[in-house]
Symmetry: C2
Subunit: 314 residues, 2 copies
């Protein structure tokens, strides 16, 4: 099958069709999304080698559970051992022997087929088109912010960063009825947010000094974190959603003196993302900038940096 | 009166006796403790100018509430406005118009007399000697760790740093029945801890990889924070107790990916520290390295770095 492989360099190549085990399914990939993590991996992040990609929708092609064959599915990206302390405590994503498709020690979905454990699959309702279904994984991560921190009716909430993740978090917040402010560098993107969102262009160097109970840092850069630290109230919470390509300087004295909380937040529940997509409470398709045929995957990777969502159609 | 003043340089000088307002008390200082924060201030931290010092025990000399005169007291160090959002919500230490004795915009206790609001004072029981009473402020900060994070019976707890604060936190933990491990550079100090404490010398470069649910960082240096990040389990919590003289590099990607929590924790409730001292559940006097007469305060400041608690007797 055709696959987009990274092994120090990025290239399309013909590789063997993967063989699912008894508890796994072979899925024919229909549409897949390029994530910033994929771009980081091509710069060396995670030291990953293999088939890239972790956001996709596809159709089950081969599976020991025959009722699944032909069904349209998305797949959770973390493949856990099922038997360690974390797996036994319902924290599979922190499994001590974790692999993650397209990120850590397991082939991903930028290929004609991908293999995943049956337990990782979620059926996609007919009313959710492929383009929306590819957003289930990042949208689940966006909803997970609000599993990580308690937003009260009185909470002043700020989202920093109007990249894909920041925009999805804003959409998720709006679907949950959470009032919030978005600060970002691309005011032209604000139009896709709910009209109730208070938007601020970061170009104007806004004074956000200690105004917010909860600050969601979705930029992944040192300036974003510094802004978060200055924008959060004493005893407030910063939610970290991003990985950082460099190890940033962080004013920890401020964290101690102002008794701040910093809360890391990663992957979320696919069930929630699918339910909100089905209810049409979120419309992430607005984030799609361009869809490339899979044969043009290298061109898509060149195009993706600085753009919103780029998809690959297999 | 005689006072130890920092105004760019540190010196003993004769200054006017401070005059208490109607809601304040004038306290004759008996014994005072030198804290690392005092040493940092003499290097420029907080840009403070005035009488240094915030750990003390004394006797009320002048006060509108005559029942207090002659009583032995300690004093909370944060002087709040009483009317801002934080004060109204019971968060006086985060008052937006805060002053802090000997630290921020208010004269401290390294003097023959100090003035504090009556509301800041706590009576010291007769069974608690002066030497122990000077530990109320740092001991309250130590107990506050366990107000900041929920320690469960199953929690694996690590304290990093065997300086004064780390040792007090260990003593506080033991008095609360909290099993824990202490890692530090001074194994000779471990003898003063409860015999149930698991102690590890950091000289041996111990492998603490992802073993602990709760890590209490009490070193205030970048290496301590790096050790905390490697020692904490996925989804675990790091409690930050220290200020940092330099802004450290922090691996925030690890915080996001492992969904860690970082919780800043500063001053605590004097009531708790006094109660545990009265019950003899903690014995901080072991931490006293040396007591200097106030006239030798400059010598005491030269001596203090690298030593445990140094006191000044007025």
């Amino acid at each position: 099958m055709k696959a987009l492989v990274f092994d120090g360099s990025l290239h399309l190549e013909e590789i063997n069709l993967p063989q699912p085990r008894q508890d796994e399914a072979l899925i024919r990939v229909k549409l897949a999304g390029i994530c910033n993590t994929d771009l980081e991996i091509t710069k060396g992040y995670m030291d990953f080698s293999g088939v890239l990609g972790h956001e996709f929708v596809g159709v089950v092609d081969l599976c020991s559970d025959e009722t699944l064959i032909g069904k349209r599915v998305v797949g959770e990206i973390n493949v856990a051992c099922g038997s360690c302390e974390y797996c036994m405590n319902g924290m599979k994503k922190h499994c001590s022997d974790l692999s993650v498709i397209g990120i850590n020690n397991r082939d991903g979905c930028f290929a004609e087929f991908v293999v995943l454990p049956i337990d990782n699959l979620h059926l996609i309702p007919e009313t959710v088109p492929d383009e929306e279904a590819t957003f289930v994984e990042p949208l689940a991560a966006a909803y997970h912010v609000f599993e990580s921190v308690w937003v009260k009716p009185s909470s002043m909430v700020l989202i920093i960063g109007d990249g894909k993740l920041g925009l999805l978090i804003s959409m998720a917040a709006s679907s949950l009825g959470i009032e919030h402010t978005m600060v970002g560098r691309h005011p032209e993107r604000f139009a896709m947010l709910d009209s109730n969102v208070n938007t601020i262009s970061s170009e104007g160097q806004p004074d956000l000094k200690s105004c917010y109970d909860i600050v969601i840092e979705a930029t992944g850069n040192e300036q974003g974190m510094a802004l978060a630290l200055s924008a959060v109230k004493p005893a407030g919470t910063i939610v970290l959603k991003s990985t950082y390509s460099h190890i940033p300087n962080v004013d920890l004295s401020r964290v101690a003196v102002n008794e701040l909380k910093i809360v890391g937040s990663r992957c979320g529940r696919f069930e929630d993302a699918i339910r909100f997509l089905e209810k049409k409470s979120v419309k992430p398709v607005q984030l799609i900038d361009r869809i490339f045929p899979f044969d043009n995957a290298l061109e898509a990777f060149d195009y993706a940096p600085g753009h919103l969502k780029v998809l690959l159609r297999m």
